[in-house]
Symmetry: C2
Subunit: 216 residues, 2 copies
């Protein structure tokens, strides 16, 4: 897959080796994550709000209540920043200074547009559900006309995008390797526990296969 | 513990029942998380960057390389938003519309100040390390004068702060409860795997006790 072109605003300047601009790296991070942090500005004050998202090709979809302040603000076409971060582990070095975190993140800058077309909107709603739990959409009651109206969907074209990745063990100062403390990585991952059935679920309702094999 | 006073900017307007302003809720979220998303504005464009943090009382500390664009920008005293989000589970409802995520988040607005005082700066560096891994600081080589100089520390007073919490099972439309599909919550948590020792660690170096009991 081709790469995004780094701009003055997306080029990773600190530790440029950690920067990546190819679609493969960017899409893998976006598809593994499911919570993004959306940054926007109101009266000079930045706000950063967590929310879910979906992706189709070079388009990232956001959604929320039509009454949401964030969605209404963004649909006016103001600059937005969407960031997705995956944490892979704690990097425990021999010095405080070289402690770090292994992570993969994507930063996308741009302007979101309101999705008006009912077909694109419905498809985006399918993407949100499938992004959270692949296989779920075909199992559930799909959006009514009224629910469609109550939902605002925004599309952010993925154009000005960069990824940043830190992986591997600690990089210590040469003289610190002689010190005796433990050093290395504590891997972290997001893992599911046993599903908790809804209180009103009839006894014996089987957990669907797509949940049993759930993995991020 | 007392509460933060909600302002026009921090009051949770959508689903106000999910809003919380008491220090106990806010601090618990901040202390369980360890990656925040920092929002700031340059030339009208918001940026959202993931980074680590520490907390002492009503002060949240950020740090980074003195060469970091984000740190330099923030130290000029511009408005900032720091958001910490913990994901607790996927809420699988009977309709697409009522799918949700269980989460706890904190949003803090304000202006960060540069930490100049060497004692406060060193204490903040201790907080960062201890925040990632409690017990680690006493084990490792502590910052040299040169490392102190190469690090910028910022302090954000926690004044304009709110938390937002969604928990529990799906809330479906009454008529949807008769549908037969599985519904409930898939709990998610951040869990550690077996520690990966650094390649240059002498064989037999024991994993410290504070790592064995690591839990977020």
């Amino acid at each position: 897959m081709s790469s995004f072109t780094p701009t003055e605003r997306t080029q990773v300047k600190r530790l440029p080796k950690r920067g990546a601009y190819d679609r493969e790296t960017v899409f893998k991070i976006l598809d593994e994550g499911f919570v993004c942090h959306v940054g926007f500005v109101v009266d000079g004050q930045p706000y950063v709000i967590p929310t879910n998202y979906g992706r189709s090709g070079d388009t990232l979809y956001l959604h929320g209540s039509a009454a949401s302040r964030m969605l209404r603000t963004l649909s006016e076409g103001i600059p937005v920043c969407v960031t997705v971060t995956l944490v892979d582990g704690l990097v425990l070095a021999r010095s405080a200074f070289h402690h770090s975190v292994n992570y993969r993140s994507v930063v996308a800058l741009g302007t979101a547009r309101l999705v008006d077309d009912p077909r694109e909107k419905r498809e985006a709603l399918r993407l949100f559900t499938e992004h959270i739990m692949k296989g779920r959409w075909d199992d559930i009651r799909q959006p009514s006309e009224q629910e469609m109206k109550a939902t605002t969907v925004l599309a952010l074209p993925l154009e000005e995008v960069s990824a940043k990745v830190r992986s591997g063990g600690p990089i210590d100062d040469e003289e610190d390797y002689a010190l005796g403390m433990w050093a290395g990585v504590l891997p972290l991952s997001v893992t599911p526990a046993a599903p908790v059935p809804d209180l009103r679920l009839p006894a014996g309702t089987e957990v669907p296969g797509y949940m049993k094999s759930y993995k991020r």
